[in-house]
């Protein structure tokens, strides 16, 4: 009996991975699209099993925001911070530098911009917004400065330090808006005063809620694309990430690259924070940390760490956010379901990576 069983087991087909000589370009493009499509299929099945209207969930989350032109402005608003943060993170990830604390850098960027806004609250002029933008970038950079210093000087893992500082940033936000920055006119609400008219981003398209953040996000993605594909810096980042020994031989300093990519990702996250606080929020509130910094990690991967890919992926993730709100009101799907869809998408994408780098060979074990 035992022997027979063993014999049978030997007949089972096995699969083995074999490294491709070159990562497949075709698969690199195809797998993110496949991941999104598979998420829709799998999502419909999983949510049907859970007792929800699975097909309805997929339709509302993925299609309604595209089909309904009234939702496009919401997409632009949601996509902007995701794209800006995602572009920064993707540059770092290219160099194998794992800043996962963008949420904290986003918060501190928003706080720095708020600080400038409160300080200049009785002033006016075109220069207020640029100054707040600079403060936002500086805030984000300051928050990533510690992980960068510790990684380059002491070889402390930036994954843990950048994430830990996110929790500290949330406490800093609470301290400021429950304490010194609390508006005296908000009836005890923990929030700052409203920014003045010159401290609020202009509306780009009349009659919509689209502010300057959206075109800035597109501009940043295109600039990043040019820099990453045309400049020595872009080459340096890619080499340090994919072939650290070659980079050293070629005279690229690893530490300098780490510093640069971390400051860029922190600065962009901080800038996104400024665009949010001076945009949709108009003031600093406790609900400011909306998780953009974490979702931007998915955006970076789904966009294949390519700035234009990130631009598209940012819109895809924005669709799921906007669609999630739609599904909540139309079919009563809990908002948290969106997080599950997003996680599923990332899992499927990572699973699809195997097709980029490996051939799957069927082998018969003798």
């Amino acid at each position: 009996m035992g022997k027979h069983h063993q014999k049978k087991r030997r007949q089972i087909m096995r699969f083995q991975l074999e490294k491709k000589p070159e990562p497949s370009k075709k698969m690199l493009f195809a797998t993110p699209i496949l991941a999104v499509l598979l998420t829709m299929v799998l999502g419909a099945i999983v949510f049907s099993i859970l007792g929800y209207d699975g097909l309805g969930a997929v339709r509302e989350i993925f299609l309604t925001p595209i089909m309904n032109s009234l939702k496009w402005q919401d997409l632009a608003v949601k996509a902007a911070p995701l794209i800006i943060i995602g572009v920064g993170l993707s540059i770092g990830y290219r160099a194998n530098v794992w800043n996962i604390g963008a949420e904290g850098q986003y918060i501190v960027g928003g706080l720095a911009a708020t600080g400038v806004a409160l300080f200049t609250h009785d002033m006016s002029g075109w220069w207020l917004l640029p100054l707040m933008g600079l403060a936002g970038m500086a805030g984000g950079m300051a928050w990533v400065f510690i992980p960068a210093l510790l990684r380059t000087k002491l070889n402390v893992n930036e994954i843990l330090t950048s994430l830990m500082l996110t929790y500290v940033a949330i406490q800093l936000l609470n301290f400021l808006i429950f304490g010194p920055w609390k508006s005296p006119t908000a009836y005890g609400q923990p929030q700052t005063v409203l920014f003045n008219a010159d401290q609020i981003l202009p509306y780009i398209i009349p009659g919509t809620i689209v502010q300057a953040g959206a075109p800035i996000a597109v501009f940043i993605a295109i600039m990043a694309w040019l820099i990453m594909s045309r400049s020595v810096f872009g080459f340096q980042v890619k080499t340090v990430g994919s072939a650290p020994n070659a980079a050293r031989y070629g005279g690229f300093s690893t530490n300098k690259t780490i510093w640069l990519v971390l400051l860029i990702s922190g600065g962009l996250a901080g800038f996104a924070g400024m665009l949010e606080v001076a945009g949709p929020f108009n003031r600093m509130v406790p609900s400011f940390p909306a998780g953009y910094g974490f979702t931007a990690i998915i955006v970076a991967f789904l966009g294949r760490l390519h700035p234009i890919g990130v631009l598209i992926a940012g819109i895809v993730l924005a669709i799921t956010f906007v669609g999630g709100e739609v599904a909540q009101t139309t079919i009563g799907l809990p908002n948290a379901a969106v997080g599950l869809f997003q996680a599923m998408m990332l899992f499927l994408l990572l699973a699809g990576d195997v097709l980029v780098r490996y051939n799957i060979k069927r082998v018969r074990r003798a």
Binding site: V168, F301, A337, G339, F347, L350, D353
Partner: protein, 309 residues
């Protein structure tokens, strides 16, 4: 400082440390096998929500814990399949697992918001748990004793058993282990599943022994602190125990400082709340200063294994 307060602080500290200790012990075994699973926070959240829900429905915390262990393990197997069978990037997949865990727990926890369960308390007689002195030994949830037992069990497994030796070999030199006939992938699957179960139980500690209700994101980054603790411990279970209790003490200080007021009020409560995270960073710095150059990390940590035959 009076004795009652000291004992109360010790009891709170041990409780606060237990989820960290359990999750970190699991991750220690995972990393010893050469795998870096950054999804601890996500697996803890999955364990927390399943542990809460099952305890609420069955009214039996033992079944709740068992369910949490299974759920954590099941979540970890997603990670295992992607990284071990499909050799996906471990860092990215671990992050994905954490994102999955927070989405999963938010969705499934929603119906349980505001619903109470009973704390999973000590099973010793009241004469011991209410005794002014002896309660320092007896006034704990069974999960606390389980976590202490697991410190010993993990140490014993890694140092004294053949299976532990194989697991360490796989983590130190996967190709050698493979060439002498051990299945690197199978060993790692086992380690990851164990880590998931431990993280699941650790997550279940939050609603079962700390605050008996469901709160979204209740782990508050403890899974990441557990990862830092493994580095702090230099992959030694006994040092892990010391590290976890140190963090428990910091968290306890926050609670007592908030309650005490007075001179503690000079320090804003937000700074107290930041302390565990700042302490984690400081600990990581101290460790790297001590081990300059020669890290005690398993040699194959985080590297994918592709068999070459």
């Amino acid at each position: 400082m009076n004795i009652d307060l000291t004992i109360a602080i010790i009891i709170t500290m041990v409780g606060a440390s237990t989820p960290l200790l359990l999750a970190a012990l699991g991750e220690l075994v995972v990393e010893k096998s050469g795998v870096l699973n950054l999804g601890v926070e996500g697996m803890m959240l999955v364990g927390a929500v399943v542990g809460f829900a099952v305890t609420y429905i069955t009214g039996n915390p033992w079944i709740g814990i068992l369910a949490a262990a299974f759920a954590g393990s099941a979540a970890s197997l997603i990670f295992a399949f992607l990284t071990l069978s499909l050799s996906a990037n471990q860092v990215a997949t671990g992050l994905a697992l954490t994102i999955f865990g927070s989405g999963f727990s938010a969705l499934f926890g929603q119906p349980f918001t505001g619903k109470p369960i009973a704390l999973f308390k000590s099973i010793f007689p009241d004469s011991l748990t209410d005794h002014p002195i002896l309660r320092v030994f007896f006034d704990y949830s069974p999960l606390v004793y389980f976590s202490l037992f697991m410190v010993f069990a993990v140490w014993w497994f890694l140092q004294k058993t053949r299976a532990g030796l194989i697991l360490r070999a796989v983590g130190e030199n996967d190709h050698s282990a493979h060439s002498i006939g051990y299945s690197v992938i199978k060993v790692r699957y086992g380690a990851v599943a164990f880590g998931g179960a431990m993280a699941g139980i650790g997550g279940a500690c939050f609603p079962l022994i700390l605050t008996p209700q469901w709160v979204e994101g209740l782990t508050g980054g403890r899974g990441w602190i557990a990862l830092a603790l493994v580095v702090f411990s230099a992959w030694k279970p006994t040092r892990l125990l010391a590290g976890a209790y140190l963090f428990g003490l910091i968290a306890t200080m926050e609670l007592y400082a908030k309650a005490a007021g007075g001179s503690f009020r000079i320090i804003p409560s937000e700074l107290w709340a930041s302390l565990p995270y700042l302490a984690t960073i400081i600990v990581l710095v101290l460790i790297s200063l001590r081990h300059k150059g020669n890290s005690s990390a398993p040699a194959c940590l985080g590297k994918p294994f592709i068999s070459s035959n």
